[in-house]
Amino acid sequence: AVRISLKKGLSIRDQMRAAGVLDDFLKHIKYDPVKKYQPSQG
């Protein structure tokens, strides 16, 4: 078997907050974690 070491990325939230774009993003995105499971248009 092949073993792939996984790195852990820095928090996207913290990076967006540091860049000053988090609040604006949260106001505009209607996020739902399940959205990714809806069959996408293709």
């Binding site: 078997a1 092949v2 073993r3 792939i4 070491s5 996984l6 790195k7 852990k8 990325g9 820095l10 928090s11 996207i12 939230r13 990076q15 967006m16 860049a19 774009v21 988090l22 993003f25 949260l26 995105i29 996020y31 739902d32 974690p33 399940v34 959205k35 990714k36 499971y37 809806q38 069959p39 996408s40 248009q41 293709g42």
Partner: protein, 330 residues
């Protein structure tokens, strides 16, 4: 103070590893995502700011690239990516898949992909979920006999660092990475790695929320434990949490005395201690949970077992028998 639905939580960390595509190999960092089924990386054609911040595939530099031309949108929780299909050689260490179908991104939403630590995504869900009906990377590995066993497994460290967050094992299971027996649960819908959730308990009390059945998707591409929104208030009350714009806040000094959450899966009781579901960020503690507003495809309440759960349970994905195995992580 309640400001808004704390969806900032989901923009947390992700775990990724290295693959290469093309001849000569072009390297990429990808999120290995059991919650989606497409393989895509940024391409040199992409003009979105997010692409400038990541490695980009250059088709003209690969002797083995074949364009396929079709364009599709692949949607994720925070937006969708436009890809154009092609095929090329995929390598993951000693694994080689020739003529693997893949997407080359043409457009990516700046937020949050610009800030992602990974370049692209390697989806590990079932082929029926793949946009454009493209062959998944795992299907290619199986067809070209690249895996000794038709399984893969994930270990996520309880104390992750940037350099070591865990391990993906393609083609096997590592007994060093878990303790006790593996509990198996059959996949209930061959789109994602979805299993039946028989029961949820908070501390010693069984909630009864799954009396009519619940479903749970095992998703390495989701960071948090995702709860059907109709249960969020009860959980906050039971755990003494306050909703703030930074998430569901709790007093860090209470963590030790908070109850464990228990999930009935495959006839076993999988416990999640407070140390696993409370995030402590510089002395500010929040619950590692978020709400979902949509039921599963068959209408039952849908939970998502993200990295927060998978740190506690080493997870085996059995492609031959369509089942998921859970064992307490080492």
């Amino acid at each position: 103070s309640v400001v808004r639905e704390p969806i900032a939580n989901h923009l947390d960390s992700s775990y990724f590893g290295e693959i290469s595509i093309g001849e000569p190999p072009q390297k990429f960092l990808v999120l290995f995502d059991t919650g989606s089924a497409n393989l895509w990386v940024p391409s040199t054609d992409c003009k979105s700011p997010a692409c400038f911040n990541h490695a980009k595939f250059q088709p003209s530099a690969s002797a083995t690239f074949t364009p396929r031309g079709q364009s599709y949108n692949v949607s994720y929780g925070s937006g969708s990516v436009t890809i154009v299909l092609g095929s090329d050689t995929l390598r993951i260490q000693s694994i080689t898949v020739r003529e693997q179908e893949l997407g080359l991104s043409q457009e990516e939403p700046t937020q949050p992909f610009y800030f992602a630590a990974f370049d692209g995504i390697l989806g590990m869900a079932f082929p029926s979920l793949a946009v454009g009906g493209t062959a998944t990377a795992l299907a290619g590995m199986l067809e070209q006999n690249q895996l000794p066993e038709p399984v893969f497994s994930f270990y996520f460290s309880r104390q992750p660092t940037y350099d070591y967050g865990g391990e993906l094992i393609l083609g096997g299971v590592d007994p060093q990475l878990f303790q006790g027996d593996i509990t198996w649960a059959p996949v209930t819908q061959k789109l994602y790695w979805q299993v039946a959730l028989e029961e949820v308990a908070i501390g010693q009390s069984v909630t009864g929320w799954c009396g009519q059945g619940c479903q749970a998707i095992v998703d390495t591409g989701t960071f948090l434990l995702t709860v059907p929104q109709e249960y969020i208030e009860s959980i906050l009350e039971a755990l003494g949490a306050q909703e703030t714009s930074y998430g569901y806040a709790v007093d860090c000094s209470d963590t030790q005395s908070m109850p464990q959450l228990t999930f009935g899966i495959g006839g076993a009781r999988l416990a999640l201690p407070p140390a696993a579901y409370v995030l402590n960020s510089n002395g500010y503690c929040t619950l590692a949970i978020e709400a979902t507003y949509l039921p599963s495809q068959d209408g039952q309440p849908l939970w998502i077992l993200g990295n927060v759960f998978l740190k506690e349970y080493y997870t085996v994905f059995d492609m031959a028998n369509n089942r998921v195995g859970f064992a307490l992580s080492a």
